[in-house]
């Protein structure tokens, strides 16, 4: 408990910014430990949503009038802000999408179109369904092969197996930065370098990392980085695909429609430049602008301190949970953060999650969209507590008391 007071940022002040955290459910103070699924939104973002629809609402990139120009400016400013935060070279490399899933599907469809039968794609055994199924569909469509890097019981990718799978046939490696189920932080920088050694491109699924650490796409040297706005304190329905400009330039468009064209005739259509080539139709304008606000908010937060705080939360939760009889923590990677998944002997995660819910504690139960991973551990699912920087040690204490009560009831 005392460790927290020394932190260079003040959790209590941060919590003040998140109205959703100050509510009661079933007459109990809400404890929100489902940040892996989605994050709560700071006041800055909430105000921006309201402001956009009350003052700015107009379609972008097409109007000469005042509102349209202002909305366009704000939307493009958000793109630039995100570009700067990711340290991307150009704002042309920031494509607005609907989210992580949409970004992966865009790459699978567009980059995938440039691949030949017999080419190979590598993923890992801990991927989210979003980073499995689009590749399976692509492989089926184009006659490619999907290779899966196995993990050890601690929940770490086996690097020697990865090296064995890499070959001249490998065209893309797509790996999650942080596992949503295990909390494992994968050594992606090294993995990216290895992929490049055989000439393969690398996609980072950043759905679970962007909200926990500073991301520098040039330092990582990844070819693609995808994430969802809603997990990084922004709105739902908006996300980002970062891609290296020369690569995005070579790739064919994903969807056709307005905004993505240069000139349309019935004989031939030429496409717009980046980033618009990949943004067909009216985009989620409010979403983009408010995601920019979420980035403005996280710029005000010291992410070095966030990393320390979130690791402290996960370590503390693990230590206390380990004292429960019959409880197994799933995932024990050396480099792990923000997520504690566990299962209890002879008890169903659904029962535990339901009883915690009635005590005001929001956790996720089930397979977390990682069914192959559950099969690996031979369990139907886990109970997962996932933390954000606004969570506290006191909340973990309350969670543990509630868990104890639930287990007594289920005995």
């Amino acid at each position: 408990m005392s460790a927290l007071q020394n932190l260079p940022f003040n959790v209590r002040e941060i919590r003040e910014q998140f109205p959703a955290l100050r509510q009661q459910v079933y007459g109990k103070n809400l404890i929100y430990f489902d940040n892996g699924a989605t994050s709560q939104k700071p006041q800055l973002v909430l105000d921006a949503i309201n402001h956009y629809y009350s003052k700015e609402n107009a379609n972008i990139h097409r109007g000469v009038h005042y509102l349209s120009q202002r909305a366009t400016t704000e939307y493009e400013a958000a793109r630039t802000r995100i570009q700067k935060r990711l340290n991307a070279k150009s704002s042309n490399e920031i494509i607005f999408t609907k989210g992580t899933t949409d970004g992966i599907n865009l790459v699978a469809s567009s980059f995938g179109n440039m691949l030949q039968a017999g080419d190979e794609i590598i993923i890992s055994a801990m991927e989210h369904h979003s980073n499995i199924v689009p590749w399976q569909m692509l492989c089926e469509r184009k006659g490619l092969f999907l290779r899966v890097i196995p993990i050890n019981f601690e929940g770490e990718i086996l690097q020697d197996e990865y090296e064995k799978l890499l070959s001249k046939k490998t065209k893309l490696v797509a790996i999650t930065h942080i596992s949503n189920t295990l909390g494992t932080v994968n050594p992606i920088k090294e993995m990216i370098a290895k992929a490049h050694n055989v000439g393969a491109k690398f996609l980072v699924d950043g759905a679970q990392s962007i909200q926990h650490m500073s991301i520098d796409v040039r330092d990582l040297n990844c070819d693609f980085f995808v994430f969802s706005g809603h997990k990084v304190f922004g709105p739902t329905g908006i996300g980002v695909l970062y891609g290296k400009e020369d690569l995005l330039d070579q790739m064919p468009p994903y969807q056709g429609g307005g905004d993505m064209i240069a000139k349309v005739t019935f004989e031939r259509t030429t496409y717009n430049e980046l980033p618009y080539k990949f943004e067909a139709g009216t985009p989620h304008i409010a979403g983009g602008i408010c995601l920019g606000k979420a980035f403005e908010y996280i710029e005000s937060i010291d992410f070095k301190a966030v990393e320390v705080h979130e690791r402290a939360l996960a370590d503390y939760a693990s230590q206390v949970l380990e004292t429960f009889e019959g409880l197994t923590i799933i995932g024990d990677a050396k480099n792990k953060t923000s997520v504690v998944s566990f299962s209890l002997k002879d008890l169903h995660p659904f029962d535990i999650g339901t009883l915690l819910d009635k005590q005001g504690i929001a956790v996720r139960t089930g397979h977390h969209c990682t069914q192959p991973l559950m099969d690996f551990y031979k369990i139907p699912g886990t109970v997962r507590a996932s933390f954000a920087f606004y969570n506290t040690i006191e909340e973990i204490d309350a969670f543990v008391i509630a868990l104890e009560r639930s287990l007594n009831m289920l005995k």
Binding site: P349, L355, Q359, G381, L410
Partner: protein, 143 residues
């Protein structure tokens, strides 16, 4: 056939039982006890065709028409789900198929458990209720 109580009377009875509970945890304590008491169905009846797969928990349902009334037995891997199954069976067991097919299960909402039967919950319970009605309709058509 066993004489069955009016299906709405049983529902009223359950509602008044639940009125005694002061808070959510007491309700769930009761559901857990019900779940523990539910006679589990024979292992050999837990077949693929009796399985209702939910995202969160799984339910097995066996249905038969005995002496003009529907006879249900069911099981789940989650105890709270089993408790709710216990209530559903208490309401529907031994009722005539035509009553089951057309009855509105109003007690679920009244005792505050409708979240467990919402389509998004996918714990197998909504699927189970649908299957119970379907089995009742099937046995009507057989007659």
């Amino acid at each position: 056939m066993e004489t069955s109580m009016d299906i709405n009377k049983i529902q009223e009875e359950i509602i008044s039982e639940f009125e005694m509970f002061d808070d959510w945890m007491e309700k769930y304590e009761y559901l857990i006890e019900l779940g523990k008491d539910l006679p589990i169905i024979a292992e050999e009846l837990k077949t693929e065709d009796r399985l209702i797969e939910g995202c969160q928990s799984r339910v097995w349902l066996n249905a038969a028409l005995i002496d003009g009334g529907m006879s249900f037995s069911a099981d789940s891997d989650a105890i709270i789900t089993k408790g709710i199954i216990g209530l559903l069976i208490r309401v529907m067991n031994h009722q005539k198929p035509e009553i089951i097919a057309s009855n509105d299960l109003f007690f679920i909402k009244e005792i505050g458990l409708q979240e467990h039967l919402s389509p998004s919950r996918s714990n197998g319970l909504l699927g189970m209720v649908k299957r119970m009605k379907l089995e009742a309709i099937k046995s009507l058509n057989k007659k």
